[in-house]
Every structure is written in C-alpha cells, then in structure tokens.
C-alpha cells in the first residue's frame, strides 16, 4: 500500500484550533514546548486562552486543575516524560483524584524521540498513567485517529492522558470515517490463527507483519487498541477465544503498558499463549529513530518472530 506520513502532534495542533473556534471554554497550556507540541497553533489563534507556564510542568498541571474547576476544558501539553513523570503526583492529586476536566496531551512518546536520548524517551509513561484511578489513557495509531481522539475528549468530561509521537508516522486509516469510540478497540485486519494487539506506531508495524505472515500461510488478526484505559476487555477475550494466541506490540516498556494490561485480562479470563513486543526492561539511548526501533526490537520483524514463537506454543 502507498504510505502517507503525518505527525500526530500536527494533527493535534490543528484540531485544537478547529475546536477552539467552536468552543470558547477550551483553554490550552504548555510548559515551554509549544513549538514542539504544536500548541503554538492555538496560541497564535487564541492568545487569550493560551498560557505558557514556562519550564514548570508540576505547576502547569495543578494550575490546569484550577482552571478546570472553574469550568474550563483544559488541554495541557509537554513531552511525555515530563507530563507523566515530572508531574505524576500533580496528575494524581490535582487532576485525577478531583476528576477534573484536564486533558494531558503529550508528544515525544516512546523511543522514536530519538537523538535526545534516554532522558527524553518516555517508555514507562503508560504504566504510570494507567495505574492512576479515574484516568483515561489513549495512544492514537496515526494522525487521523488523533483528530478523533481530541474531538471526543472535548465531549467526554474527565481527566485523560493522550500520548503522541515526535515523528511523522504512516497513516493506517485510509478513510477517516470509521467508528471511533474511546474504550473500543478497532479490528484493522481479520485473521484466525493469532491476534496482534497494538497501539500507536506499532499498529502499522503489526499490519506489515500480518501481510508478511499471510504470505507464509498464517492468518493474523490485527487490533488497534488505542485506548489502554478503560481497556476493551470484551474484544481481548473474544480475540483470545477465536484465535487462541495473542501478541502485543507497543512502543513502551513491556512492563506495565499495553502488553501488561492485555496479559492481566488474559490471565484472569482466558489464558492463551501470548508474548509482548516492546522495550525490554532498559533505558534507551541517542540515535536515529529507525535505528533505535531496530536495536530495541520494535519492528515488524520482531513482531513476526514473536508471532511464530507464540503459535508454536498453541
């Protein structure tokens, strides 16, 4: 298939502007990264509803909570490492315990942050965000889905964490007119022998893997599990029942992220052979994103070998 590339953060910036025109309650904040997170687009259009909090992520999240307590719909952005890690306690107490309407939308998630190295590669953010009660946690598969996510978040009250990428990534949705619902996984490709459950940029890698595997006679179902929390348990259980084997794929540590969440559901409901593709228990390093994906085991090749190993255990 012809591959179109687009950056999820660009889609985010544009969607904020679109929504900001319609809804005057939308307020956007950033912590000195607005050019990178693309909230600068909103800032330019609506300077009175944009607050740059400087390099102070903790202050940003609690301030966002105060704005939300007065009825604002607040989008707060920074890099994934800082939004999830630096401000974790503020997300927990000011934003989630209070169930306030703050949307923490972060960019530069995962190892493809690249050259900035380990300090800036968030490989643990999904784990620590999904552990917090009341939080919705979403990793869109591409720029098309990002638009759906942001539009839906404005309609749905409550705290959430959305993880976007730095890079332009392949569009997996040729048609943007699909049934997107928070908390409902999407079957991207049908298949009977095994299901790959993926999120973010790994959805595309999973589709590539399934195409290669089908040439080898293995029928692979691919699920885009964009919402890590609340997790679509029903779909996971159905896939386990129907294909009897599961591989997860995520640009995140195998500890605590999508793979762990799926394993929890399987272990308690429908144990089947499974394997997690993701960053092993280690920090990343500086490098070109593609080289890092290769080195840290996050390519379609890695998914293919995981699939083959799991099928042997069926």
């Amino acid at each position: 298939m012809a591959v179109t590339l687009a950056a999820t953060r660009e889609a985010y910036g544009k969607t904020l502007v679109e929504l900001g025109k319609i809804n005057k309650d939308i307020v956007v904040m950033d912590a000195d990264l607005s050019v990178s997170t693309k909230t600068c687009m909103f800032a330019k259009e609506f300077p009175d509803r944009f607050f740059d909090m400087g390099v102070a992520e903790q202050d940003m999240i609690s301030t966002a909570a105060g704005l939300a307590a007065c009825g604002k719909i607040v989008f707060a952005s920074t890099f994934a490492v800082f939004g999830s890690g630096r401000a974790w306690d503020q997300v927990r107490v000011s934003m989630a315990y209070t169930r306030l309407n703050v949307k923490l939308v972060v960019t530069h998630g995962g190892i493809t942050t690249g050259e900035d190295g380990a300090t800036h590669q968030a490989n643990e953010d999904i784990a620590i965000m999904r552990a917090i009660p009341n939080m919705t946690v979403i990793v869109p598969a591409d720029a098309v889905e990002t638009v759906h996510v942001i539009r839906n978040l404005v309609k749905e009250y409550g705290p959430s964490y959305v993880r976007l990428s730095r890079l332009s990534s392949p569009i997996v949705y040729g048609d943007s007119n699909y049934d997107f619902r928070i908390g409902k996984g999407v079957i991207m490709k049908p298949g009977n022998d095994i299901t790959i459950i993926a999120a973010g940029i790994m959805v595309y890698q999973s589709i590539l893997a399934s195409e290669q595997l089908s040439k080898e006679g293995i029928s692979v179902r691919v699920v885009n599990m964009h919402t890590i929390k609340p997790l679509d348990r029903e779909l996971i259980i159905r896939c386990a029942q129907e294909t009897r084997a599961i591989v997860t794929a995520e640009e995140h540590s195998i500890i605590g992220g999508l793979g762990s969440a799926v394993a929890e559901v399987l272990a308690e409901n429908m144990p089947v052979p499974m394997s997690r593709v993701g960053v092993k228990d280690m920090f990343g390093e500086s490098g070109k994103p593609d080289d890092l994906l290769e080195k840290y085991g996050l390519t379609s090749k890695d998914i293919i070998s995981a699939v083959k190993n799991v099928i042997k255990r069926k």
Binding site: F51, D59, S62, T63, A65, G66, L67, A69, C70
Partner: protein, 275 residues
C-alpha cells in the same frame, strides 16, 4: 468600619471553631491540631466577614473561592464550613472515619464548599492560580484566597506557583502564609530555613503585607482589605501565628501536636481554655 461587636462575634466564632478542631481530632485520635489551630482566626475572618459566598448555594458562580493548600489543616476548614452552614455539624464527628466525607485531607468531590482537593503540598496554590486566571478570563468580580504553610514553603511547587501568579499579575489572588514556624521535624528555620521570607515574595513580584498578627481579628481584616485594593500584583499576607494557638500546652509544645491527637485528659484541659 467594623464594629467592636462584630470583632467580638468573630473572636467567639474562632473559639467555637477551635473547640470543634479539638473535639474532632480527639474523637478519631488522628489529625493535625497544631496547624489547624494556627489558621483558625484567618479562616474565621475569611468565611464570616471577608468572602462573598453562599453556603446554601456552594457552586454560586460569582463566589470568592478559598483553597487550603496546606491540606493537612483540614479540620479547621471542616469546622469553618460546618459553622457557616455548608453541611450539618454532626458530620464533624465522622472525621477520618471510613466512609466519611471528611477525609484526612480535603476532598472536593465528597464535601460541598471544598474548592480543591489538597494534601500533597504546593498543589493547592497552583490550582488557586488557575482559578484566578479563569475568573479573570470570565470577567468575574471575585477574589481567590489560598492559605499555605511555612513548612509547605519548602516545596518547589510553591515557588513555581509564585512565579506564575507574579508573571500573570493575578491581583484577584491573595495568598496567606500561616507562619507558625514549625513543621513535623522541628523548627522551620532549623530544618531548612525559609527566611528572609518577605524578601523572597517581593522578589517573586508579590505585593507583600508582612508582620500581620494572624490571631488578631482586626489586623487580619485590615490586611485582607489592603490586599483587595492592590492592583497589578498578587498579594501575600505573611500572618505571624502560633502553632496550637488557643491551647496553652500545645502552644508550649508545638512539635508534640503537629500531627498527634490529644489524650482524653488533654482534651478536657484544652476545652476549658477555649470557653
């Protein structure tokens, strides 16, 4: 002009609030009496004289808002809200009990009148800034008050929030520092000193009203009135207070009563002093 009758009335109200604090904490044998007692007069003046609010309509859009950033002083806020009529005084008996709306640290979801959940220090101040920004955007003619502690002033977030309030010139915000000079581990100046505190706030672009006697109703009122008049800057009132104020043996041993409940005998003695 405030009448001497009104002053007397407020002084009595503060005494009633202090009695609630002692009774609540002794009933559940857990909580923070020292820092609750030290801010009792400040909250009394705010809720029974200064603030525009309506206990019958806690979500009134035009209300002034109060955030207790030092969330461990929850008993003083609960006692004040109950006295103001936000909820029945009988609730006070349930402090820190399982299933109660009166959580160990204040929870905005479980109880009317709580504007922000606090307990992790520093966060309430930032949230108050957010409220001040929102109210200013909406053109509201109201004011945001936030009480912070001096131990809390060691938190980095206090200074991030101070920078925000100063930068955004939040003159609809008043911070009140309950300067009782003690934290759990000892005297603030011995643990990690915060002096010169007034200079710090000036450097952070605040209008500073310092040397205010935080237990003198008249002085508190004057400071709050001056704060309302300040334009183009947020104000901080540095209220000199005494940890455990109103109960002699707590005042004399503030370290024993930061986070410890009084014994039965101590409660009787304390309540005798608060008549």
């Amino acid at each position: 002009m405030i009448t001497s009758e009104k002053i007397k009335e407020l002084e009595n109200k503060a005494k009633v609030i202090r009695r609630h604090i002692i009774e609540m904490i002794s009933r559940c044998q857990s909580g923070h009496p020292g820092g609750s007692l030290s801010s009792a007069d400040i909250l009394t003046v705010l809720y029974f004289h200064k603030m525009k609010h309506d206990p019958k309509n806690p979500k009134w859009d035009e209300r002034d808002r109060f955030v207790l950033s030092k969330g461990h002083a929850a008993p003083v806020l609960y006692a004040t809200l109950a006295e103001a009529g936000y909820f029945p005084k009988s609730y006070l008996k349930t402090l820190r009990q399982i299933g109660s709306s009166l959580q160990g640290h204040v929870d905005m979801i479980s109880l009317p009148g709580i504007e922000m959940s606090t307990g992790s220090l520093g966060q309430g101040f930032s949230a108050a800034n957010g409220m001040a920004l929102a109210c200013r955007m909406d053109g509201k003619n109201n004011h945001i008050y936030v009480v912070i502690g001096d131990g809390e002033s060691q938190e980095g977030q206090i200074w991030e929030a101070a920078m925000t309030a100063g930068h955004y010139k939040l003159d609809n915000l008043t911070v009140i520092l309950d300067h009782n000079k003690y934290q759990i581990d000892g005297r603030v100046e011995e643990i990690k000193g915060i002096q010169p505190i007034a200079d710090k706030w000036r450097a952070f672009r605040f209008n500073v009203i310092d040397g205010v006697n935080g237990h003198d109703i008249k002085s508190i009122i004057k400071a709050l009135d001056d704060a309302s008049k300040a334009k183009g800057k947020p104000t901080i009132i540095i209220a000199e207070t005494i940890k455990g104020k109103g109960v002699s043996f707590m005042e004399n041993n503030p370290l024993d009563f930061h986070g410890k409940a009084p014994t039965k005998e101590e409660v009787i003695k304390a309540l005798e002093e608060l008549i």
